[in-house]
C-alpha cells in the first residue's frame, strides 16, 4: 500500500528537521509506542501496539535511516514483526522552506505479509491511514513544542 501527502508546519525547516531526526522525539509521535531503544544515529527500535482486533497487534519495529541530505530529505526503512504480521515499510520525507514555515512532502510504501496481509487493502488501508494521521498530528504537536523552546 502506498500512502503520501503534504503537511505544512508553522516552524522553520531546521526545527522540523530536528524533530523528525530525533528518535526520542519520533517515538513520542508514534501512536501506541510502549518502549523504544536507540542503537545509534541511524538505527533504533520501537515496540508498538497497533489497534487491530481485541487487545491490539503488538509489533517490534526496527528503523534504519538509509539516506539523508540535511535539512531537506531523509529516507527510512522499517521492518516490523508481530504475531501473524510482518511489516516492511520504506518512507521518505522532503522538506522545503515556505515563507517562515516548512512544507513537508512525505510518502510511504507499506507491505504487510502473513495472515494479517490476506485481509487485503480494504481492511488494512483505513488502519494505515489512521496510523499516518496520528503520526502527523503528534508530529505537529512536537514541532510546536520545539518551536516555542
Amino acid at each position: 500500500m502506498k500512502v503520501e501527502g503534504t503537511r505544512s508546519f508553522a516552524a522553520p525547516r531546521e526545527t522540523v528537521w530536528e524533530v523528525l531526526n530525533d528518535p526520542a522525539r519520533m517515538a513520542k509521535t508514534m501512536p501506541g509506542v510502549e518502549s523504544f531503544d536507540v542503537s545509534d544515529d541511524t538505527h533504533w527500535r520501537a515496540n508498538v501496539k497497533i489497534p487491530l482486533g481485541l487487545g491490539g497487534l503488538s509489533m517490534s519495529i526496527d528503523f534504519e535511516k538509509t539516506e539523508e541530505r540535511r535539512p531537506e530529505f531523509a529516507r527510512l526503512a522499517a521492518k516490523g514483526n508481530g504475531v501473524g504480521a510482518i511489516m516492511n515499510m520504506v518512507t521518505a520525507f522532503h522538506l522545503t522552506e515556505d515563507g517562515g514555515g516548512t512544507e513537508m512532502k512525505w510518502e510511504a510504501d507499506v507491505k504487510i505479509a502473513g495472515p494479517v496481509g490476506s485481509m487485503g487493502q480494504r481492511v488494512l488501508q483505513p488502519i494505515v491511514n489512521q496510523q499516518v494521521n496520528a503520526v502527523l498530528t503528534a508530529l505537529e504537536k512536537q514541532v510546536q513544542e520545539a518551536n516555542t523552546q
Partner: protein, 822 residues
Amino acid sequence: MTETQTQPQPLVVEREETKPGFVGQNVPRKEDKRLVQGEGVFFDDVKRHGMGYVHFVRSPYAHAKVKSIDLTKALELGGVYGTLTGDEVAILTDPFFELSVKPGADIKDYALAVGRVRHVGEPVAAVVASSRELARDAADLVEVEYEPLPVLTTGEEALRDETILHEDAGSNVVWSGVFDWGDWEGAKAEADHVVKIERLHFDRFSSTPLECAGALVEYNRGTGQWTMHCNHQMPGIGAIWMAPALRTGVDKLRFVTQDIGGAFGNKICLHPQFVALCLLARKLNRPVQWTEWRTDQHTANAHGNERTFLDVEVAVKADGTLLGFNCRAIDDCGAFPRYEPLGCIIWAQVTPGCYRWRNIRVDFTQVCTNKSPVSPNRGYSRMQHLWLTERIVDIVAHELELDPVEIRKRNYVRAEEMPYETPNGCVYDSGDYARGLDLALELIGYDRLEEKRRDAEERGKLLGFGIGSTLDSGTNNFGQSTLLNPELQFSGNNEVATVKLDIFGEIVVTLGTVPQGQGHETTAAQVVADILGCSPDDVTVRPGHDSYWNSHAGFSGTYASQFAVTGLGAVKGATDMLASQIKRVAAGVLGASEDDLELAEGQARLKANPEAAIPFMGIGAIVNANNAILPMEVRDVTLNCRYVYVPPFELPDFERKFGNLTLTYASQVHVCLIEIDPETGVYDIVDYAAVDDCGKRIHPQIVEGQVHGATAQALGAATHEIFAYDDEGNLLTPNFYDYHVPHALDMPPMQNGYLESASPFTPLGAKGMGEGGGAGIHAVCAALQDALRSRGNTTVWRSCNPYHQVWQYLQSPARGVEVTGR
C-alpha cells in the same frame, strides 16, 4: 413414524435397452451405513500411540530468500519431539522428478523450501510435538529471516522474465509450444467474417474438498517400510514422485486410505508434504501426523489452472458455420509445476470442444508465478479450454446476431458422425449434443423465454439466457505427455482389481482406485453380482485402497473421470476370470462341460437341471481345503483372480501432435436463466437445467449426484469462488470466510435430464463421468452476456463474475471484440 420410501427413480428421458441385472439400478450404497453413523475412517481418525503432531512453519512472503532458520526456542519448548528444515531435505532427498523439457526440467522442487520461498504459505520448516496445540506453539517459536524479492502475480508479468523464480531454470517458462491443426490461414481467408476477441481469462479457483489433506506416517526401522494412512487420491503417481526423492523403492511406500472427504484433484500433488512426513517419521522414530488447515489448503495446497487467452480470432461463414480459431494461451501454474506441464496438452483431448471446426491453432505457454501451485482440479485443463470454445461460439453468435441455439446445432458434431475423429486425432466415441440441447431447452421452458424476459423487465430486472455445452473426457492416454516431452516414458493407462471366492463362499473384491464418495464399493458389487449371478449384498468390496493388497498399478487412483471404464473394466475382467474358474471346478465335479453350466443365485448349476448345483461355498471349500477331489486338469484354479485393465491406446505422433488421447467422452448441456438487478449488479440464477450423457449408467442415482455436485461447483466458480491475490502475492481468500462456496440457499432450482449414448469402446458401454466440464460456468457467462446486451453490450470476458464485476460491466462495458469481413 415416517414411511420408508423406495428408491426414487431419476428423471430418465432416453436410455439404451437395458439387460436385466443390477447394473443400471439404484442399489443401496454400501458406503452409506458406516458414513451416516459417523463410523467412516478418514485419515485423521486414525491414531497411533505416541504419535507426534506436525505443524509446518510457512512463508509469509510470496517471494523471498531464506536467510536463516533458528530452531533453538522451538526445541526448548517442552513436548517438542523434533524439527525438519530445507537444509536437511536437500541433503536427504533428491529433487522431485519434473515432467517438462527445459527450462522447466531444471526446476528444483523439494519437500520444504530450500534457500528460497516462492509462494505465501510454502512450508519452510516442520515441527513435531506431543499435541496439536504444542506443535503450533513450537512453530510460532521458529525464527526465520527472510529477504523479500520482487513478486510476480500474473502470467503476463512472469513471461517477461525480469524476475526469475527458479534460477536453475533461468526462465519462468515451464513449457511452450504451438499446436497447429488443419489450415488456419486457409480458414481465415475463406471466412466471411473474422471475429477478434482481445482477451478472455479463466479465473483461479478450486474444488476445496471439505476434508483437508493429511497423513499419519509410520516408519518401520527394521524393514525400511513407510506406511501412510492418508488421503492421496493417486498413489501410483505419488509413489513415482516420492520413491526416487527418498532414494527408496516404490514398494517401501505403502498408501492406506479408507474414507476420503472429497478430493476433486486437490489430493494428487501431496508428495512434498508427505516426503517431509516420511523424513520426520524416520528421524524421530515415531509415527507423525499432519492435518492440513483450511487456510493452508487454500494458500499452499493446490489451485486449478488459471489461463489467459489473448488475440482470439474466429473464422466464420455468413451462414454461421465456424471454420476454426486461433489464439494465444498463457497458463499460470503457480510457484511449482509438479503435475504440470500436463495441463499444456490435456486440453487437446477436447480441442474442438463440441464443434466440427477443423482448423485450430493455439500458441500455448505455461509460466510460474508466486502463487499457490496448481494440481489437476476437477475438469483439469479441459474445462478451461471448453470454456474458451463456448465463449467463442457465444460471443460470435452475439456479435453476428445469430441465434445461440441455431449456431450450436449447425456446428455441433453430429450423432451420426460418431465415432468422430477430431483435427488432432482424438476420437469422440458417441454422443448426441443436439438432442441434449433440445432436452435442456425443453426442461427450462425455452419456448416461453420472451414471456419470461418481459415479466422480468416489469419487475425492473434484466433476464439473460445462456447455454453451456461441454465434454467430460475420461480414461486418458498418458502418452499425451510425450507430446510435451518426448523423453518421458509414460503412455497408456491401467487399473487393477482382484476378485476372490473364499473358503466359506465369500466373494471379496479389492480395487486399485481411491474412492472419495463416488460409490466404487457399490458399483463394483453391481458388476460382480451380474456376472456371478448373485446379489450385490453377497459381494464384499474392501473399502478404500491399500498398497499391500497388490491390487494397483502405475496409474492407479481416482481421477480424470475414469473409474466406470478402468476400475469397473478391471472388476469385470477379474470377475470374468473368476466365473470361468468357478465353472471349471463345477464342471470337473459334476462331470459336465463348462458350456452346460450357468451361475445363478449364488450357485454353479446345470442349465438343463438346476437341481444339480454346487453353491459358491462348496466351490470355495473344494479349492481351498479339499482339492484332492478335483481332477488334475482343474487343479491350477486359485479362485483368486487379478486383472489389469489396459485401454487400447497407442503412442501419439509427436511431430503432428496427433493421436487418440482419451477413450470416452461424456457430454453435458446446461442452460440457465439469470436475472440481474441493473441498479446493483446483483444477480440470481432463477432457473437451471442440466442434461448429462455418460453412456450406460451403472447406478443412475450416483450419476445424478455427480451432476448435482459438479453443477454446484461450477456455479460457485462462476459467481463467487475465486483465489484472488493482492500485488504482494497475499491470497485474499484463504478460508471459507472469504472464499464463498455455494451453501444450501444459494442453489437454483434445477431440472435434470439424461441420455445414454453407449460407448462402443468400453467393457460396459459406460463412460467415465463426474468432472462435469464446467458447464455451469459456460452457461452463466453466456446468460450474463445475454442479459447485459441491452445495457452497453459488454463482453463477458472472465469466468468468475461476482456481483461487483457485473456492476463494472454495467458502468463501463468491456467490449474487446472486433468483427472484420467482407
